[in-house]
């Protein structure tokens, strides 16, 4: 449908924010699983929390181009915060969730200044270092965190004072799903906003982003804070629904796993975290049934192959497939424009 340039421009900008049929389908299935897959609620709960965590990483990696090797710092912080809050203050899930989210965001805000100083490798190492320091703190402050034994005795009250957490994970899944969905809606809104677009310019070319008047550092601080809050929310959900927190929530492998999931699912379209989390958990399940001890081998192999084939090219293939499904012309392959 042709039109005046103004109409075309309006239409194209509106299209990026419009919901696609597949998205409706995805959430329909996710909510349908409440009734359709009652025996899998525990694993579904785990998947949806992991997906939220991966989505939070996508906000900084996929949209702003900040790679992090220590994103579990915020996940773990949120988990410990929610767990300790439930033990020491009050067992109401929503209060704990909101406070844990805000606290993780605050931590993200503070550490963002460290992360912004460096570039590239230094940045990777700083994110890693922050997670290590927090992990070490959690390990040593046994009186508060339970140290290596984990945080025991987390007792959660009913959600909204109505829904008790049950053994089969039904309440847990519904709770996590609703929270994730709401946070997703917000994130989806953000990434197509002027703010979200400005982040993508920073990802593509920070030099030019500055040269068109974008305060790059402040935007990065904002999105890093946001991503930390999201990761903290995911951690809090895990702590509340499993009623247990161990050092595992903040460990290096958790940061690595979430990065891996996001890379498998693809960055920069928000659903990568969901796709990656599902594929990852299913693979983990299948492979560990087959060779329980050595499943990391296959995960490693997937990573190696993924990188050798080229993430970009993989993403491009997905994009082509996506376009074909929607009956659109294929996007052209990416070529390099400009440098850094």
């Amino acid at each position: 449908m042709p039109g005046t340039p103004t109409e075309i421009a309006t239409r194209h900008l509106a299209e990026t924010s419009r919901w696609k049929p597949l998205e409706f389908a995805f959430w329909l299935v996710a909510f349908g699983a409440i009734w359709l897959l009652p025996s899998h609620h525990l694993i579904l709960n785990e998947i949806i929390i992991t997906a939220l965590f991966a989505m939070s990483l996508d906000l900084i990696l996929g949209y702003a181009g900040i790679a992090s090797l220590g994103h579990a710092a915020f996940f773990g912080f949120g988990a410990y915060f929610a767990g300790i809050f439930a033990i020491r203050v009050i067992g109401d899930p929503l209060t704990g969730l909101i406070l844990a989210t805000l606290a993780s965001g605050a931590l993200g805000f503070i550490t963002s200044f460290l992360v912004l100083r460096g570039v590239d490798l230094a940045r990777l190492m700083v994110t890693l270092g922050v997670a290590l320091v927090l992990g070490e703190i959690a390990n040593k402050m046994t009186w508060l965190t339970g140290g290596a034994d984990g945080l025991q005795g987390v007792m959660m009250g009913p959600v909204l004072g109505l829904f008790e957490f049950d053994l089969y994970g039904r309440t847990a899944y519904v709770y996590s799903l609703v929270v994730t969905f709401l946070l997703f809606l917000l994130a989806r809104r953000i990434v197509v906003s002027p703010f979200g677009l400005s982040l993508r310019t920073i990802r593509d070319n920070p030099l030019r982003a500055r040269a068109i008047g974008i305060p790059v550092n402040r935007r990065l601080i904002a999105v890093y804070t946001l991503a930390a809050a999201y990761a903290g929310a995911a951690g809090a959900l895990l702590a509340q629904t499993t009623q247990f927190v161990s050092l595992d929530v903040i460990a290096l492998h958790r940061s690595a796993d979430v990065l891996l999931m996001l890379v498998i699912g693809g960055t920069g379209y928000l659903y990568g975290g969901f796709a990656g989390a599902i594929v990852f958990k299913v693979l983990q399940d299948v492979i560990s049934n087959w060779t329980p001890q050595y499943w990391t081998f296959w995960i490693g192999l997937i990573l190696v192959i993924l990188v050798l084939i080229g993430r970009e090219r993989m993403n491009h293939r997905v994009a082509v497939l996506w376009a074909r499904l929607r009956g659109k012309p294929e996007p052209r392959p990416r070529t390099i424009v400009g440098g850094h």
Binding site: T201, T335, I336
Partner: protein, 250 residues
């Protein structure tokens, strides 16, 4: 009347090397001014000082009378000092529509608006379309920047700067690498820039300099060597010696 852009005793040292040597330079409002100089004369350093990528060791920079020497780059852009790049610096994964949209929304102060979709304001759309028309980008608005022909990318490079509503525009070799067939479009748009935008052209291509500029400054070894009208510079034997002769040989 204060100059559009003015430097006073501007100096930049890297260790023992003086890259910019006591440059006092004046760009008049509405000027079409070219800055030329042989390779290694310090043009890039000078531009980086003006835009705030580098901090001067001494001296001041004034934009329409206001001292901007200590301002970070993005604030200078908001004050109306905008540059283009010799090598395209674009947003490869975005469309020209989105790229221009960001620049326009940012200028209008919408950069932190995260609650509404980009493009929901018609003033923004109207301006994007206006700029795209001016820079002949209307037919490629929704293509990925990375897949645009080079000439279009070059136009987008300048259009992005124009979207920031510059009062002073620094054009860094705008025609560099543009194939002959697409060159005309580019030069025409540069020539058609509105007169209330003061332009400083940093250029190697003497044909472009002579056809576009009204005044020329020559930078040699980091210092301002001479300045004058086009005919003065063209007929200055010293300039020929340090610059023109050299560039004709090379």
């Amino acid at each position: 009347m204060s100059a559009a852009l003015e430097t006073v005793g501007l100096e930049k040292r890297f260790g023992g090397i003086v890259a910019t040597d006591n440059v006092s330079f004046r760009l008049e409002p509405g000027a079409r001014h070219a800055l030329i100089g042989p390779n290694g004369a310090g043009k890039t350093t000078f531009v980086n000082l003006l835009t705030g990528v580098l901090q001067p060791s001494a001296g001041t920079i004034r934009l329409h009378g206001e001292d901007i020497s200590a301002m970070p780059p993005e604030r200078r852009v908001k004050r109306g000092l905008v540059r283009t790049f010799q090598i395209n610096q674009l947003f490869a994964g975005m469309t020209p529509l989105e790229s221009l949209g960001v620049a326009v929304s940012e200028r209008m102060g919408h950069g932190y608006e995260f609650w509404r979709p980009a493009g929901s304001k018609s003033v923004v759309i109207d301006e994007i379309v206006e700029i795209a028309t001016r820079f002949k980008l209307v037919d490629v608005l929704e293509e990925r920047t990375a897949s645009l022909p080079y000439g279009k990318q070059r136009l987008l490079e300048i259009a992005l700067a124009f979207a920031c509503q510059p009062r002073v525009l620094l054009l860094d070799e705008p025609a560099a690498g543009v194939p002959e067939a697409e060159r005309h479009d580019l030069l025409a748009t540069v020539a058609a820039l509105p007169r209330d935008v003061s332009v400083l052209l940093i250029e190697h291509d003497m044909d472009l300099v002579f056809s576009f500029a009204e005044r020329i400054s020559v930078l040699v070894n980091g210092a301002l060597f001479t300045e004058g009208t086009v005919s003065e510079i063209a007929n200055d034997p010293r300039v020929r010696a340090v610059y023109l002769g050299e560039s004709l040989d090379g």
